[in-house]
């Protein structure tokens, strides 16, 4: 098999030329990963280590009447059994850190170990530590839990009914106007965003399309399951090794949940086998820590696949309504959207993010968006790659396609005409800075796929769809510490878990700024004791924010080198210039390597450092084109060809950008066609395995053509925009619009699985 060495097209909207940025060097973690030497959480084994396991609820909604662990504790080899009684009472404390700070710690605590009630099938009820996994598993069977089973509430539209069973008895809706509801309900929060006059906008419209959409729950599907090993020393120092998207976030959560001083908690990030937003919060870490504290031994825990699917944080199912008004010439006059997402067993869904994205690709002068965060008896939902945006934009991009069909307007021309651009209104944010939606749409229009008519095949229903996507990205805090070694190489410590190849993309920005080769930078993802505060790897923020910290740290190092050389050369530091990695002043010059040697002799070892909290992350747009074939007899949809176009700002390491684009498409196609949680009426999850939770395999996706567009982000010295999330946003809508093109069907539920498509085809006939 030939290796495909084609370099994918890149369309630049800037004139910058870089030495390191935009090249394709060998990735720093490549060798360790292909040889299996990279260390993951499961590779941690400590002397005297015990093994922990979690007892999970067999019910979706039940009151815990009693827990009797005496039989388990009596089993030979069992060292400790813990329940929520062993977790400190968090009182009214609020969470900090993570992707969604400001939620009551009591909810997070109760999600670790159920307090009084279980809120979903698989909810952790107790945990044991034993000398091996088999004894731990046996011990779980000996814990006697008495439940009073309660009626479960599984869907947002049921949970929002006035007579629905209330899952959290003291949950009072935080209303959009800042007031709090007087009666408890399952609605944790309401949101309302408005611009212009939406009623007047709809009155101006010649055509109004108003549609409802529903969604199954989907999981991120990372291959490495959650794991954690904790060692609680007698002096109170707690060491934790785990697979997470943010060691500092886990440290903060441990401090919050265990009421333990943050200085005594040391979290070591291991290599991570996928996260996609699902590893932004703790599950096993606090349990392993408590079990270690109680037993005086290190405790190692790992989930199996069923645990991961049942009891971590999938992304919500729910409901989205989108109504848009247009004039006959194809100008959008108004938009209304209503989003209700399931938070799962505790408040805090990603509905607010969905609200921000639902109309984001368009210049909206009259818009109203309402959001509802709704508690249901399913696992506490979490972020999944552009969380909330995929649901929201599946709805709005399907409605846009319907508008184009009805008015017989080309979908590319319609989007170009109505596209959001610099200075336009952005929901809950300042007006847009420079953005690249128009440039992406033009690149899609000019792409090989769009320019090639869809090949027809006798007896086959084929169609093409196009859709836009937006994700806002986030900034948060990042730190870098860079040490200049005497040979001119640099050891770069950063705190961002490397999920998408970021240690290389961060190091490349450092190398570019300092003017050295990428091979001379050795990036290391450091633990919480060894680098400054660094927030979670999420929001497509690392190449943007940690990259900025690296750039700033390189400038700091440059200043320190100049100061050192100034003493040697007897010139003022500010008279020394730096260009292409060479320092010069007054007839003297030295490369970084030479300078390192000169400074070593003086006992000077520069350490560049920076901690930064940037806020101008810039939004990311993508435009995708899907060609599909629908088997009319079975309802199966095959994706034949796919092109993904995306504004990367400036692509630091193009192969990673292309990889993110392709990976997002694969996950988006899985979501579009097959992935969903299947529950019975009692709220039991029926498909907690990768056999029956059907993610796409290599045979289910075509080669995904990528086109990188570079419209630099003005909020970053190298123009970086986050790239990791937006590529999951357009696929469901692009596929749905292609299904419509092929069959005339408008699918209104994700996934558009074969039985649903077949039923819709039967209803159409």
């Amino acid at each position: 098999m030939a290796i495909d060495t084609r370099v994918a097209p890149k369309i630049k909207h800037h004139d910058e030329e870089y030495k390191v940025i935009g090249t394709r060097p060998i990735r720093h973690d490549g060798l360790e990963k292909v040889t299996g030497e990279a260390r993951y959480g499961s590779d941690i084994n400590l002397p005297g280590q015990l093994h922990g396991k979690v007892l999970r609820s067999p019910h979706a909604h039940a009151r815990i009447l009693s827990i009797d662990a005496s039989r388990a504790q009596a089993l030979d080899g069992v060292s400790a059994v813990i329940t929520s009684a062993d977790l400190p009472d968090p009182g009214d404390k609020l969470t900090t850190g993570g992707e969604a700070p400001g939620l009551p710690v009591k909810f997070k605590s109760a999600n670790m170990l159920a307090r009084g009630k279980v809120h979903y099938h698989g909810h952790a009820v107790a945990a044991v530590a034993a000398t091996n996994q088999h004894i731990a598993a046996e011990a779980l069977k000996l814990i006697d839990v008495e439940y009073e089973v309660l009626e479960p509430v599984l869907e947002v539209w049921d949970a929002m009914k006035p007579d629905a069973p209330v899952i959290i008895e003291d949950l009072y809706t935080a209303k959009a106007d800042g007031t709090t509801a007087e009666e408890p309900s399952n609605v944790a929060a309401e949101m309302l965003y408005e611009v212009g006059d939406v009623d007047a906008g709809f009155a101006e419209a010649d055509l109004v399309v108003d549609r409802e959409f529903t969604f199954g729950v989907v999981h991120q599907g990372y291959i490495e399951t959650h794991n954690a090993t904790a060692n609680w020393l007698k002096d109170g120092h707690l060491h934790v090794w785990c697979s997470s998207q943010g060691a500092f976030t886990i440290r903060q959560e441990l401090a919050d949940l265990l009421n333990h001083p943050i200085t005594k908690i040391h979290v070591v990030p291991m290599e991570i086998g996928g996260g996609f937003g699902g590893k932004t919060t703790a599950y096993l870490e606090p349990l392993a820590a408590l079990l270690s504290q109680q037993t005086g031994h290190p405790v190692k825990m790992a989930m199996d696949r069923a645990d991961v699917l049942k009891a971590t944080g999938p992304t919500p199912g729910g409901y989205v309504r989108v109504k848009m008004g247009v004039t006959n010439d194809g100008t959008i006059t108004a938009g209304y959207a209503n989003l209700a997402f399931d938070a799962g067993g505790y408040p805090g869904s990603v509905v607010g993010a969905g609200c921000r994205c639902v109309f984001a690709p368009y210049n909206m002068t009259n818009a109203k968006v309402e959001g509802f965060d709704v508690v249901v008896n399913k696992p506490k939902t979490h972020a999944y790659r552009a969380p909330g945006a995929t649901h929201a934009e599946f709805a709005s991009e399907t409605v846009v396609d319907e508008i184009c069909r009805t008015l017989d307007i080309d979908p590319v021309e319609f989007r170009l005409k109505n596209s959001a651009k610099e200075g336009d209104w952005q929901l809950a944010m300042p007006p847009y800075p420079r953005i690249g939606h128009i440039e992406c749409m033009e690149a899609a229009r000019d792409s090989a796929q769009w320019q090639t008519p869809l090949e027809t095949a006798p007896g086959k229903k084929r169609g093409r769809g196009i859709a836009s996507g937006f994700w806002f990205n986030i900034g948060f805090t990042s730190s870098v510490i860079a040490k200049l070694n005497s040979d001119g190489s640099v050891t770069l410590l950063e705190g961002s878990t490397d999920i998408g190849g970021t240690r290389t993309s961060v190091a490349m920005q450092f190398a570019e700024t300092l003017g050295i080769a990428i091979e001379d930078v050795d990036p290391i993802v450091a633990d919480t004791d060894s680098v400054g505060q660094t927030d979670v790897t999420g929001g497509s923020r690392v190449t943007f924010a940690t990259g900025l910290a690296a750039h700033n740290a390189a400038n700091d190092m440059k200043d320190q080198i100049a100061e050192g050389l100034a003493d040697l050369w007897d010139v003022a530091a500010d008279s020394i210039t730096h260009a292409d990695g060479t320092f010069s002043a007054n007839g003297n010059s030295a490369t970084v390597r030479e300078a390192a040697g000169l400074l070593e002799e003086e006992g000077v070892f520069p350490i560049g450092k920076n901690t930064v909290t940037p806020t101008r992350e810039g939004g990311a747009f993508a435009v995708h084109i899907a060609d599909v074939e629908v088997d009319e007899e079975t309802g199966k949809v095959e994706v034949l060809r796919y092109t993904a176009v995306q504004d990367a700002g400036v692509a630091i390491y193009p192969p990673y950008v292309e990889g993110q684009m392709q990976g997002g498409v694969v996950q988006g196609v899985g979501w579009a066609l097959n992935e969903e949680y299947v529950y019975d009426d009692d709220g039991h999850l029926l498909n907690a395995s990768l056999l029956d939770y059907r993610m796409p395999t290599a045979l289910d996706v075509p080669n995904i053509e990528t086109i990188i567009v570079e419209v630099p982000n003005p909020g970053h010295p190298y123009g970086v925009r986050g790239v990791g999330e937006v590529p999951i946003v357009p696929p469901p809508a692009a596929v749905a619009n292609a299904i419509h093109d092929a069959t005339g069907l408008r699918m209104s539920h994700l996934p558009m699985s074969p039985p649903r498509v077949q039923a819709a085809l039967a209803a159409q006939a």
């Binding site: 088999h134 004894i135 046996e138 007899e633 079975t634 309802g635 199966k636 066609l673 097959n674 299947v678 029926l686 498909n687 056999l691 029956d692 059907r694 796409p696 395999t697 045979l699 289910d700 699985s753 074969p754 039985p755 077949q758 039923a759 039967a762």
Partner: protein
């Protein structure tokens, strides 16, 4: 913690003795691709694993004097599709052997194991049914034979009594002018369990059907021999009208359930569509060609 025993008898007699001694606590282990997974997931409590692979009769793949084939119960899938004679003679069985699990799984998994697992969706069972396979069973009271369509009795259950094991399958030599095909519907393109599977075998005299058998998987508590569909085809011209008649009968014969893998309505529809497609494929093979649709 459960202690387990592993036995590796080298004769059918010894295997029967071990199975008889341990009753339902013992289980034959061929490739282990179902059994080991089920035990690990607590779906089956087995204390004695009796390895099938040291017993020559269970590893045999041979053509008998009368042209029939003996397929040992533990012969792995890959051996079948790498055997030119077997593939040419029983193509529906190799259609199934090629799509069970992954290439790695096919190196271990056996047709006999698939049958003894007795899942309603077992891919090799409809092909064995359409090829009129017979199960050769050994037990404490001697040997007996059972038609393959009578082997499974309920999901995960079959006619084997305590102490009995499936030694081999006998597949009669198909007459000249016949062909077979098996295909299944899965939402993905690999690594999945059949939502519905359908097998068909046809014998043609020119364009006229002289004998036919069809079978369905995953639409009833056991894989189904849809005898009425095959009977209806006899004497008909092998064309779309005939296949539609048989497909209608297959749809009526299906009594599927709603579960996480499919709905009743979808499975009914698929019973029709896949029977039709399997018949087309069988016809193509009977005429020396190959199927053009389906996986």
């Amino acid at each position: 913690m459960r202690a387990i025993q592993y036995a590796a008898p080298s004769t059918v007699e010894d295997a029967v003795a071990i199975l008889a001694e341990h009753g339902s606590d013992a289980r034959m282990l061929a490739g282990g691709t179902d059994l080991i997974v089920q035990v690990r997931e607590d779906a089956r409590d087995t204390g004695v694993f009796v390895d099938a692979k040291k017993i020559p009769e269970l590893m045999e793949l041979s053509v008998n004097a009368d042209g029939s084939t003996t397929l040992g119960a533990a012969v792995p899938c890959h051996q079948l599709y790498n055997d030119a004679h077997f593939t040419a003679t029983y193509p529906a069985v190799t259609d199934a052997a090629r799509i069970i699990g992954s290439t790695g799984i096919q190196g271990r998994a056996s047709v006999g194991g698939n049958l003894c697992n007795s899942g309603p969706a077992g891919d090799t069972i409809p092909p064995l049914i359409v090829h009129s396979a017979v199960c050769n069973i050994a037990g404490p009271d001697g040997e007996r034979t059972v038609a393959v369509e009578d082997f499974c009795t309920a999901p995960g259950r079959n006619v084997l009594a305590d102490g009995e094991l499936l030694v081999s399958l006998t597949l009669p030599k198909p007459p000249a002018g016949s062909g077979s095909h098996y295909l299944r519907f899965i939402p993905r393109n690999e690594m999945d369990i059949a939502v519905v599977g359908a097998g068909a075998w046809l014998q043609l005299d020119g364009e006229t059907i002289t004998a036919a058998r069809t079978g369905l998987g995953a639409v009833a508590p056991t894989p189904l021999f849809v005898q009425a569909a095959g009977d209806a085809l006899v004497g008909m011209t092998a064309d779309e009208d005939a296949f539609a008649v048989a497909a209608d009968i297959a749809r009526d014969a299906a009594s599927p359930i709603d579960d996480m893998r499919g709905t009743i309505a979808h499975r009914k529809q698929l019973s029709y569509v896949l029977t039709q497609r399997a018949l087309r494929g069988a016809k193509a093979r009977a005429q020396g060609g190959s199927p053009t649709n389906g996986h």
